[in-house]
Amino acid sequence: MPLTPAITTHDIAHDEPQDYLWTLNFGPQHPATHTTLRLVLKLDGERVVEAMPDIGYLHSGFEKIGESLNFNQYVTVTDRMNYISPMANNVAWHGAVERLLGLELPSRCQYIRTIICELARISDHLLCNGAVGLDTGAFTFFMYAFNQREAIYDIFETLCGARFTNSYTRVGGLMYDITPLVVEKIRKFCKEFPKTLDDMERLLNRNRIFVDRTKGVGVLSKAEATNRSATGPIARASGVTRDLRKDDPYLAYKDFDFKVCCATSGDCFARYLVRMSEMRESLRIVEQAIENIPAGPVNVAVGERTALPTKRQVYSTIEGTITHFELSMANRGFETPNEESYFAIEAPNGELGFYVVGDGTDVAYRARCRPPSYIHFSLFPYLIRGHTLSDIVAVLGSLNIIAAELDR
């Protein structure tokens, strides 16, 4: 299909013949895009004059599916949005549902959700930085990162049985409580991970090739970052100090001592540095949280009628039996108010929010996802203009575009 150039990028006058400009198709299947997205590039020699993104190759109607699956079923779809950190998506989705229902989570559940969110952040940043390293020629760095990602996958597998698509949260609670074995594995990870992180920083922070390829490339100013709706590490690398964990504390974040990592230069190297230091801060949160998990139930009380009661409650109390029956029957389920609300978390990639409209049933009337990858990819034509073809992979990598979340 013909791709008309965006008028926002009006650097070239289209009525003039531009014989010296090359048109290059980049993607949708290309090893350096990592995911399925397409760029049509106008090149002047090796310089990118204009980049026209063409997306939608992975559009699978997630928001439409959200209007026919109930709140607990839809969590499996959120896994497949940003599949690099599915735990964060699960927490965001059920956080939005719980805000709509007006549920207050038990503190044990809040702590466990905080821990898995931070582990997901470490896992996401490892992949993102690892991929930037891989694309700019640092293969060893990528292997270091993936080795630690395996450790996090092992933790998630022990926690909920799934390595990749976790679907760990439930409305008003979690699928399983945390076990001593998981705590042991997380402690082991907390002990071993800083060593790898040090190694990784020693490999790249002063690596001449890497620094030359990322410093001063894809610069995003602070004003432009806010104007173009950038959030998360990308905005923080440009000097925007916004972090929802501090500014709009959700879950148990107000109990922990951690810093918001920012940089001012706004280039690919700054984004790399912000992600590296955020991993250290995330690890600090995990270390504090894992030693202070409060005792008590993980799910909300039986009276709320949203989370499945334990088997003990089902077999020994009448409320438990009734709740189990009500929630398991296809024509029952729980009730939602005729209201709408928005809830956002600081996902590894930026602000991940869900706008949920309730219509009385346990199926969302509308489940809008505010995907950070989508907004960050719209920055790409602006960031790449004037850089060389080889800088595309550095900029694309540092924006951490996950096409499944981009297209939904």
Partner: protein, 165 residues
């Protein structure tokens, strides 16, 4: 929770704006014709410098709904962390609102997606095209009268050979 000064400002621009609150979030409903003025004043005078999201809800089958479409603009301030939801209700055949790309460049893709999924036109948008669906797609998939499994577009998709591509 939005500041009282923000609510006062909206009332100043549009006296008929309805303000409501749910789960700690303030929502204001403004008429479509004053939307741009309200947004401009919110950005310039109240410091809402971040457009978090633009989306739409189709209220076709919604209980007690009087309007067909409800646009949602989620605003935030990076300085004061104030949040505000601005709603605009639209009915067919008049599905046109002014684009806010002139105020926030980030609105570009949000508005394109809303057009793509719901068929709401944003007048003054610099690049008003479909974004996720193919350019030759005729329906608006997130409308409630569009079936979940589609209308057969998936099976009747034109397949391009190597020669025509």
């Amino acid at each position: 929770m939005a500041n009282q000064a923000t609510v006062d400002l909206i009332h100043l621009v549009s006296s008929g704006a309805k303000v409501s609150e749910y789960a700690g979030q303030t929502r204001v409903v403004v008429p479509a014709d004053v939307l741009f003025v309200v947004m401009e004043r919110l950005k310039k005078q109240r410091g809402f410098d971040l457009l978090v999201d633009v989306t739409c809800v189709d209220y076709l089958h919604y209980r007690d709904a009087t309007d067909r479409f409800g646009l949602v603009y989620l605003l935030a301030s990076t300085e004061s962390n104030e949040r505000l939801t601005v709603r605009v209700f639209l009915n067919e055949p008049d599905l046109v609102v002014p684009s806010v790309v002139a105020l926030w460049a980030g609105a570009d893709w949000f508005e394109r997606e809303t057009w793509d999924m719901f068929g709401v036109t944003f007048s003054g948008h610099p690049d008003h095209r479909r974004i996720l669906m193919p350019d030759d797609f005729t329906a608006f998939p997130l409308r409630k009268d569009y079936p979940l499994q589609g209308r057969g577009e998936r099976h009747n998709f034109p397949v391009l050979g190597r020669a025509e591509s």
